[in-house]
């Protein structure tokens, strides 16, 4: 008989092993990087129907987050403001800007001549009540799954700043998804709340840093301050399922 396989095949098994270990490593690394929320979510930056500039409003003008997201410290949800909130300023400021058209439509609704009065021919459904216009279809950026019950009020009131989950919104012209908001992201903070706790006053101050002494790093100062707050307030973030899943 003769050899079935040529001589070069003798090195094939070793080559296969080496190749497999490389491919395996690459696939694992790829999945870890590309298939986790750190990649799939962070950076999501949809185009909004109205080019609202957070960098300008929250950063330069210094509007407090709660001016618009007014429910954030009382409700589980941080509401997106209705058109009336926008219009409280924009009735006067840039009242005729074409960029604000969707907001004005939403606000005035039936009141087509925008005089705040409902005339006979404007009252389409004849009930004498002024109906609002179509909602502004803001595109949702941050979303936890249905089975996750994140409560804004408890976080905001217990010294967790907006910046922890949403990043430096005050520096974003167009808002994007800044943190992965995955379960491991939540757990990291729940396990070590001292890394994020800050005084209640400073919660909406996205630029805040714990006051630090000479020679002390930012992180260390934060941990010192955080531990103090944790102790004072009895902060005890839940680590078991019932904290977030109901």
């Amino acid at each position: 008989m003769r050899n079935i396989f040529p001589r070069w095949t003798n090195t094939i098994p070793v080559k296969i092993i080496v190749a497999l270990s490389f491919i395996g490593g690459a696939v694992t690394a790829g999945i870890t990087y590309y298939a986790t929320p750190k990649y799939t979510r962070v950076g999501y930056q949809p185009t909004q129907p109205v080019e609202y500039n957070h960098e300008f409003h929250a950063g330069q003008l210094g509007l407090d987050c709660r001016y618009c997201h007014s429910g954030v410290d009382t409700s589980s949800h941080a509401n997106v403001p209705g058109a009336n909130t926008c219009m409280s300023c924009h009735k006067n400021v840039k009242a005729n800007s074409p960029l604000l058209e969707p907001i004005r439509n939403s606000y005035y609704g039936e009141d087509t001549n925008k005089d705040g009065q409902l005339s006979e021919d404007e009252d389409l459904n004849g009930d004498g009540l002024l109906s609002a216009g179509p909602s502004v279809p803001w595109v949702r950026i941050h979303k936890t799954p249905d089975y996750v019950y994140f409560n804004h009020a408890i976080h905001v009131n217990r010294g967790i700043s907006c910046v922890e989950c949403h990043g430096r919104i005050d520096q974003m012209e167009v808002v994007h998804h800044a943190e992965p908001l995955s379960m491991s992201f939540c757990l990291e903070c729940h396990r070590n709340p001292e890394k994020s706790l800050r005084p209640m006053e400073e919660v909406t101050n996205l630029a805040w840093h714990a006051p630090h002494q000479e020679g002390e790093s930012h992180d260390l100062a934060q941990i010192h301050a955080g531990l103090q707050i944790k102790e004072n307030w009895g902060v005890n973030p839940p680590l078991s399922c019932t904290g977030c899943h109901r």
């Binding site: 008989m1 003769r2 050899n3 079935i4 396989f5 040529p6 001589r7 070069w8 095949t9 003798n10 094939i12 098994p13 757990l187 680590l239 078991s240």
Partner: protein, 179 residues
């Protein structure tokens, strides 16, 4: 073109090759091999082989498996995310014992198989011995001794006649073609 690989001699029975192997060894050959359809008891001794090293791989695999098991259980259930489950402790060597146990066996089995492959330098699909015409029969009912060219004592005529003296039939030179 070809190069010589060795000289082969076949035998008809286990008994013959058993005796012949002893004589080859006594003669002081080092690079030689018996090809048999079955593992023949005692042939290792006759050829002067030491005990197989496979058990070392098995042991290494077993120990790795046991500690891998223990490590994943401890890390996952007790260190990284301890959760209260049925009021049982976060870690104990008792409750997850089946996991350690199975992993011990799994890794030991891998150690054994791959150890065997490693020691036999398998898989190796191309080998000069496959060029031998009668090699096929060594899996069937022929017994064959091959003394390789590599052997310091190898001398084409002498070795050939030595093998013939041992009672080997169809003594052949194995040639490996080179392209």
């Amino acid at each position: 073109m070809d190069i010589k690989y060795g000289i082969s001699a076949t035998f008809n029975s286990a008994k013959d090759i058993y005796i012949a192997a002893g004589k080859v060894r006594d003669k002081g050959y080092n690079n030689w091999e018996c090809y048999t359809p079955i593992p023949i008891h005692g042939l290792d001794g006759q050829m002067g082989y030491p005990r197989s090293k496979v058990p070392c791989f098995t042991l290494a695999g077993g120990i790795t498996g046991f500690f891998t098991g223990m490590l994943i259980v401890w890390y996952m259930n007790s260190f990284d995310y301890p959760l209260i489950v049925g009021g049982k402790p976060y870690f104990s060597p008792i409750f997850p014992f089946p996991v350690f146990y199975e992993l011990t066996i799994l890794f030991a089995a891998f150690g054994t198989l791959f150890g065997m492959f490693f020691l036999n330098r398998l898989p190796r699909h191309n080998h000069p011995i496959f060029e031998h015409k009668g090699f096929g029969r060594t899996g069937d009912d022929r017994f064959m001794i091959v003394i390789e060219v590599e052997d310091p004592q190898f001398d084409e005529q002498e070795t050939e006649s030595f093998l013939k003296d041992l009672g080997g039939k169809s003594v052949n030179i194995i040639r490996e073609p080179i392209d």
